[in-house]
């Protein structure tokens, strides 16, 4: 098989030239990274969370560094879906990669409205439904921690959206398989996991929490073992293509997710530290495929 083709993967109707995507909230709108890499070398980019109306997000401080990771409490700051369609989409529509919009909301109606807007944009092949944000008071994670809520929001969005529908899962649950199956039954085309883990950090000298919201979302290498476990469990018990996320810093990490069942991966926090890392991981996977004499990257998918 032609070498380039060995990395091509499919998420329902969306074809990607390689399995490497960038995670929502860590890659801006993609063009912010063009000084450091070529977007066309990535399988897809997922842009920041988009809600119906403009949101200011949470007060500063929103970030705390933790061992092998960080906490964030951004809280879905964005300019709303109309701004996205009118101001940002024109800058993205001719990029030579798949651009996926991360859709968030506080109510089922809000998710549906945003999905309807995005459905009208011809060059957006997929949305990622964020039912797992730990940093907002209403909605967000609530939809991703109760299977009946998951079922309701996904089935309503499914009716309003006819392209590839990815549902992003939260690790902050007792049984992630139950949520995954609820999303599958409601018509999701793919599952991406994991979003951040709910955590907190404290300053013992100042005797205060480090985040304005006290709790926030943990990301980075610290969460990789949890993410691998979640992907492995979900891959074994659903038929949908899985996108693995959580603490991917290099090629080995990405391969680990594929071995436990992921069809593609998303690189998140690592983008802050090594701005060209997603492109380097895509190259690294190509080298791995050669070194292990694979016919296709999916040969090793889910073998654990």
């Amino acid at each position: 098989m032609n070498n380039a083709k060995k990395l091509e993967v499919q998420i329902k109707d969306m074809s990607m030239r390689n399995p490497v995507m960038t995670a929502s909230g860590t890659f801006g709108y993609g063009y912010d990274y063009e000084d450091f890499l070529s977007l066309e070398n990535l399988g897809a980019i997922v842009v920041k969370a988009t809600t119906l109306n403009k949101r200011e997000g949470n007060p500063y401080p929103r970030m705390a560094e933790t061992p092998s990771g960080m906490l964030n409490a951004v809280g879905l700051q964005n300019n709303g879906v109309e701004y996205f369609c009118n101001k940002i989409y024109p800058k993205l529509k001719d990029k030579k990669t798949n651009v996926i919009v991360n859709v968030s909301g506080s109510t089922i109606e809000e998710y549906v409205e945003v999905a309807k807007y995005i459905n009208t944009l011809p060059n957006i092949p997929a949305i990622e439904l964020n039912i797992s944000c730990p940093n907002v008071k209403e909605g967000g994670m609530a939809f991703g921690t109760d299977p009946s809520m998951t079922q309701r929001v996904v089935s309503q969005v499914r009716k309003a959206y006819n392209k590839t529908l990815i549902v992003k899962l939260s690790p902050n649950v007792t049984n992630i398989v139950e949520i995954a199956q609820a999303a599958e039954n409601a018509g999701a085309d793919s599952l991406s996991l994991i979003n951040t883990l709910l955590g907190m950090a404290v300053d013992s000298e100042k005797k205060t929490a480090l985040l304005s919201t006290i709790t926030g979302g943990l990301s980075g290498p610290a969460i990789k073992p949890v993410a691998l476990r979640c992907v492995w469990q979900v891959a074994k018990q659903t038929k949908l293509p899985i996108i693995g996320i959580g603490g991917i810093m290099n090629t080995q990490d990405a391969i680990e997710f594929i071995l436990v069942g992921a069809t593609a991966v998303q690189v998140g926090t690592a983008n802050f530290i090594h701005p060209s890392i997603s492109e380097e991981i895509a190259k690294g996977i190509a080298e791995y495929v050669d070194r292990h004499n694979l016919n296709h990257i999916t040969d090793i998918r889910g073998i654990i």
């Binding site: 801006g28 990274y33 990771g69």
Partner: protein, 254 residues
């Protein structure tokens, strides 16, 4: 255009046990750098496995002839402690130049710096000098041992100094120095937040535009994470892109 490249350490000058100046060599011609802009420096690998994110540090000085830059760093935690051990020949990876930089304006301006927050003022003075703008520089520090780059400041500007213990210059804080009573076309201020606020208040009363440099904690430094926001009259703005230099009257808390 932003770059992500390795610099080589030329020297690491220890000023006090907790303050040092790193001089770094760039392997090519430096791109244009504005005073007040900063770098995101990678502190990792052999040097320190516990430091996860990059650390933002301002340009203290820039020399286009030698393609060297200087960073003035205060040790406050594990990242800066690890950087303080950098030695000649080490490679350091930097993303740069980041942020907006100072707006250059007026004919006569005042620069106010407190502690190591004064870092960006040296390069600012060089730029102001090139534009023939008259400058007064007021530096406040703990004691005479914490005074750095004094002769360089003096060669570029009229220098006024306050020390908390009176070991050099006027005793006390910058905010009570008589030079503040003069009139200026603009004030440029870097240092701890209480000082920024006090100088901004003074500038507002005298109707002088005051530019302050904020040191918010940052995860990316390149505008994508939204962790560094500051509350402005126009809503939340990213300190790393819209700032770190803000007109004080644009900031809500100032």
């Amino acid at each position: 255009m932003k770059y992500c490249k390795d610099f080589t350490v030329v020297s690491n000058e220890i000023i006090t046990p907790s303050l040092f100046i790193l001089r770094l060599q760039y392997p090519e011609a430096l791109p244009e750098i504005k005073a007040g802009q900063f770098v995101e420096i990678l502190v990792e690998g052999e040097r320190d496995k516990d430091v996860f994110l990059r650390r933002p540090i301002s340009f203290h000085d820039v020399n286009y002839e030698t393609n060297q830059i200087a960073l003035l760093v205060q040790v406050v935690g594990k990242g800066t402690a690890s950087l303080s051990k950098a030695k000649k020949g080490d490679k350091l990876n930097l993303i740069f130049p980041l942020g907006n930089g100072f707006t250059i304006m007026g004919k006569k301006v005042l620069l106010v710096g407190g502690g190591c927050g004064a870092a960006p003022l040296l390069y600012l003075l060089r730029i102001l000098k090139q534009q023939n703008i008259e400058t007064h520089t007021l530096i406040g520090c703990k004691d005479v041992n914490h005074l750095f780059s004094k002769s360089e400041y003096q060669s570029l500007s009229s220098l006024y100094i306050t020390t908390e213990d009176g070991s050099y210059g006027e005793k006390g804080f910058v905010t009570s120095h008589p030079i503040l009573q003069q009139t200026y076309d603009a004030i440029y201020c870097c240092g701890p937040t209480p000082m920024l606020k006090a100088i901004s208040k003074h500038a507002k009363e005298k109707n002088i535009p005051c530019f302050v440099s904020l040191e918010h904690s940052m995860a990316c430094g390149i505008g994508v994470c939204l962790c560094c926001v500051v509350d402005t009259q126009q809503g939340n703005k990213r300190t790393c892109v819209t700032g770190p230099i803000f007109l004080s009257t644009d900031l809500k808390d100032f």
